[in-house]
């Protein structure tokens, strides 16, 4: 039995059927994705889940018989409503694309034409553009909850907000009433509240129009909330597929299990477990199971021959030789959420802090930050959390008020502070791809920072190697340039650069948001270890409530530049007092329950 038999009860013609799809690089013929098979019935949603580089977008775009430059579809069958997509003439393909199968891009800000009015772009999506009456177009916009359609139709894309643009893209996808839609991470760029609304919308419209949808995403919680079927991809293959309940509850493939142990939960503090290493390069995949190198359960046989698909139960297929032989461990709640007593004197005291970015972005911030603990700063985008972190680190100088480090006041900008003060507060940036000088080796970066801040005291190579080892990097990383490291490794190097200065406070600005969830968990493990071993204090800026719950003892909730609630994390999140905290908790994606589907005609209009 193969993956394509998953939905054997379905009539052969309806929805999406993919069989044994293979996409290769145009020159090297290295397979980017291989052996992909799945089926989606009308009205249901398949979540195609994978981390970066897993080939999920490549597999998804093949539904439209499209391959990005440098790739080509080498083998397999894709059928949309009974029409085989891969052997159509260019003309026939055009009549399928945009009519029977449509596409919702990841980032509508770049995928909507900047120079055409939305009326033109929306009308193009109808089966017959001549039908584009005002009434028809207005209805399409009302369907996705966009008010004032007349204004929107005469606007250019840049005049709308990100959420509005995404709704336009969804309206465009549903406009020709297609049989199938491919959605490529359409909510990545949105904040959680908008994301929840857009997911509801997709769900309602899929059922109302009986559309088969493939929803590509890296976010397991989003997929859990949205999809009927889930297919988990790793290194270009589907390793586990079935109904959402089957895959996410039983998690029979070790990779699915590992991923789910890495996903935080907003409702409880979990012990997050990361996945070490990284997926093999498409050109150098091993002969056996691609996951074997990172798998706790792998045995010799796994490395020799590729695993076959095994059927765990009707509709649930797992590509693992060892399926059913060993239990896959499940996430564990933290036994005793670390609740060490706050020290008598706070490490950092903020009072009357106001900050400006043209307009005022922080208002009257007053808070004590305890030593030896991790304090999270949460809030939606634009709430001022990064500005707060930058004021503390001296990277944002336009502030007034008082910030004291162990009682001694800090000057606004780093340039005015003493070296000793600079040394004691170290900053780790969000994007590890930009925070290390690409022309310096990791060792040189550490050396420059350490030498400068620790005065004339020389820093030996062994000390650099020790700093790298403490963040789990091998010795050879010292001589590597950032370009030779993966994102997770670079973030470790950036943390090591902070550690070599022997700081008291590590300011972490969304440091895991550019990383895959399995790598994020390894960074969380690292930070928890550093905190326990060194008594390091941390300020952890984040938007992900679940993540915060797993790492921080204290929490500060910001809204529009003001602190609305603060206290011990578990207390605050379990019983939120502030409206904003409750709202953040409510909108945080979680596995527990699927989305409640709003009646199709009553989709909440969006506030402009």
């Amino acid at each position: 039995m193969t993956m394509s038999d998953v939905n054997s009860t379905v009539q052969a013609h309806a929805g999406i059927v993919v069989e044994d799809l293979q996409v290769v690089t145009a020159q090297g013929a290295a397979p980017i994705v291989r052996g992909i098979s799945f089926a989606v019935t009308p009205g249901s949603i398949l979540g195609l889940v994978g981390e970066s580089g897993s080939g999920k977008t490549t597999a998804g775009l093949a539904l439209l018989a499209h391959a990005r430059p440098g790739l080509k579809i080498a083998a397999g069958r894709v059928s949309i409503g009974g029409v085989s997509m891969l052997n159509l003439s260019a003309r026939e393909l055009r009549t399928m694309r945009g009519r029977e199968i449509t596409y919702v891009p990841q980032d509508p800000a770049t995928a909507l034409h900047p120079g055409l009015r939305l009326r033109t772009q929306l009308a193009e999506c109808l089966r017959n553009p001549a039908d584009a009456t005002d009434e028809r177009l207005h209805r399409l916009l009302e369907d996705v909850g966009l008010p004032d359609p007349a204004r929107i139709l005469s606007a250019f894309p840049h005049e709308l907000s990100g959420g509005q643009q995404q709704r336009i893209a969804i309206a465009m996808a549903f406009a020709p009433q297609p049989q199938a839609i491919l959605m490529d991470e359409p909510t990545t760029a949105l904040d959680v509240t908008t994301q929840t609304r857009v997911l509801h919308l997709v769900r309602a419209m899929a059922q109302q129009h009986r559309t088969a949808i493939v929803y590509v995403s890296h976010d397991l919680a989003v997929v859990a909330a949205l999809a009927d079927q889930v297919a988990v991809m790793y290194a270009g293959e589907i390793v586990e597929a079935g109904t959402a309940a089957q895959v996410l509850e039983r998690r029979l493939h070790p990779y699915t299990g590992a991923l789910l142990r890495a996903v935080p939960d907003p409702d409880q503090a979990l012990v997050l477990k990361g996945l070490s290493g990284h997926a093999p390069d498409p050109a150098h995949r091993p002969p056996g199971c691609a996951f074997a190198a990172r798998c706790d359960l792998a045995e010799d046989a796994c490395r020799l021959a590729p695993p076959a698909d095994l059927v765990a139960e009707p509709g649930h297929v797992v590509r693992c030789r060892r399926m059913g032989q060993t239990a896959i461990s499940r996430p564990q709640a933290m036994a005793q959420p670390i609740l060490s007593q706050p020290q008598a004197a706070p490490l950092l005291t903020l009072s009357g802090l106001g900050a400006w970015h043209g307009r005022q972005v922080l208002h009257d911030i007053a808070i004590d930050i305890a030593g030896g603990r991790c304090t999270a700063v949460v809030g939606e985008s634009g709430s001022g959390k990064t500005t707060l972190a930058r004021c503390i680190a001296g990277l944002h100088a336009h502030w007034t008020g008082d910030i004291r480090l162990n009682g001694a006041p800090l000057r606004p900008s780093a340039g005015q502070r003493s070296r000793e003060q600079l040394r004691r507060i170290q900053y780790v940036f969000q994007n590890p791809y930009a925070s290390l000088n690409p022309r310096q080796t990791i060792g040189q970066s550490l050396l420059v920072a350490g030498r400068h801040l620790r005065g004339s005291k020389a820093i030996s190579r062994s000390e650099i190697l020790a700093a790298l080892a403490s963040v789990g990097l091998p010795h050879r990383a010292a001589d590597a340039f950032p370009g030779q490291l993966s994102g997770g490794q670079r973030q470790r190097a950036a943390i090591a650069r902070g550690l070599i200065c022997q700081p008291d406070l590590l300011v972490c600005d969304e440091i895991t948001s550019a990383l895959d969830v399995s790598i994020q968990a390894t960074i969380v493990e690292l930070l928890l270890r550093l905190q326990q071993q060194r008594g390091l204090s941390m300020l952890f800026v984040a938007h992900n409530i679940g993540l915060v719950r797993s790492i921080a003892q204290d929490i500060i909730v910001l809204q529009a530049g003001r602190i609305v609630e603060s206290g011990p994390t578990q207390v605050v999140l379990s019983a939120p007092k502030a409206k904003e905290t409750a709202r953040l908790m409510q909108d945080a994606p979680r596995f527990a329950a699927g989305l409640q589907v709003a009646p199709a005609r009553h989709i909440a209009p969006m506030v402009v």
Binding site: R94, R97, G98, A111, H113, F156, E159, M172
Partner: protein, 322 residues
């Protein structure tokens, strides 16, 4: 943007252009002050009679303070009094009109011939990106863009004289008071030279911006929407690729204001560029000042036109609230 917003933008650009011209005129004037010793003596040489030197000093307002000299020059310009040539003694205005006509003729015909060719070649190369057509055209453009204008001109003279002797004149003499159009043969080689000079800039800009557009997310999106290739190219891609090209075209025309200097000289074509070279050769101070200022004015105007076109063709800039 509302009409008034566009007008405000235009006004701002015009003021900035005027300011630039003012600064250019100051630079031109200051350059004359660099002359060592007495300007008149320096120009006429040590053997000049005191009477001639005195006449020259008067013509150049040299008896006034530097600031007054500058003021008198600018005031004259504003009244259409460009002064007299030191060499011929005739009013510069009469000389400049004919030269300006000849040069404009050359530039306009060049633009009419070469711009469509370069734009179409650029589009063709972009559509066939990284294939034989593209590689051949791009390599030719790269080679041409490296060559000094006079090398292209001389090469064409050599080729035409060896391949078909006496068919085309090696010098493009135009009688004063006559239009070059009366003897079109003299225009062939200068036009060909300028066409080859202009081609690579416009070609590369058209090709580059079209490739960027064709690789953009929104063109991929349009392809996946099943938009026909024809509509994709004309409605979706071209309007986005044009603004940078139009800017390049205006800049190229502006550049021609400098490029014609050498080309006109190579062919002995009596335009404003050749005028500058001979004026510099004879140290005809008033002519140099007036000619350079006129070329700079042309340059500034074309730059303003380029900016206005760019704004008009880019909705994001057009609809930006002031």
């Amino acid at each position: 943007m509302t009409g008034s917003g566009l007008a405000a933008m235009l006004l701002r650009r015009l003021l900035l252009g005027l300011l630039t011209l003012l600064l250019v005129s100051l630079v031109v004037f200051a350059a004359t002050q660099l002359l060592p010793g007495d300007v008149a003596t320096a120009i006429l040489g040590r053997t000049a009679t005191p009477a001639r030197i005195a006449a020259l000093r008067a013509a150049l307002h040299l008896n006034h303070a530097p600031l007054a000299q500058y003021g008198l020059w600018i005031l004259g310009l504003l009244h259409g009094d460009l002064g007299n040539s030191l060499v011929t003694g005739k009013p510069i205005l009469s000389d400049i009109a004919g030269r300006l006509y000849n040069s404009s003729l050359l530039v306009i015909i060049t633009a009419v011939i070469s711009l469509p060719i370069a734009v179409i070649a650029g589009l063709a190369a972009a559509v066939r990106h990284d294939r034989a057509t593209d590689i051949a055209l791009s390599t030719v453009a790269l080679a041409l863009s490296a060559l000094p204008e006079f090398v292209i001109g001389i090469a064409l003279i050599i080729v035409s004289s060896l391949a078909a002797p006496h068919v085309l004149p090696m010098v493009s003499l135009v009688q004063p008071g006559h239009s070059p159009l009366q003897t079109p043969r003299v225009l062939v080689l200068p036009l060909l030279t300028l066409t080859l000079v202009v081609f690579p800039y416009v070609f590369r800009m058209m090709r580059g911006s079209m490739i960027d557009v064709l690789e953009s997310d929104y063109i991929e999106m349009a392809r996946l929407k099943g938009v026909s290739p024809h509509r994709l190219l004309i409605v979706h891609a071209l309007p986005s690729a044009l603004p940078p090209t139009i800017q390049a075209i205006a800049l190229t025309l502006a550049y021609l204001a400098g490029g014609i200097v050498v080309v006109e000289y190579v062919f002995g074509y009596a335009g404003i560029g050749e005028g500058i070279v001979s004026a510099v050769g004879t140290r005809d101070l008033p002519e140099i000042q007036d000619f350079t200022l006129i070329l700079a004015a042309v340059y500034v105007c074309l730059n303003i036109i380029a900016d206005v076109c760019t704004v008009l063709l880019t909705p994001k800039l057009r609809t930006r609230r002031a």
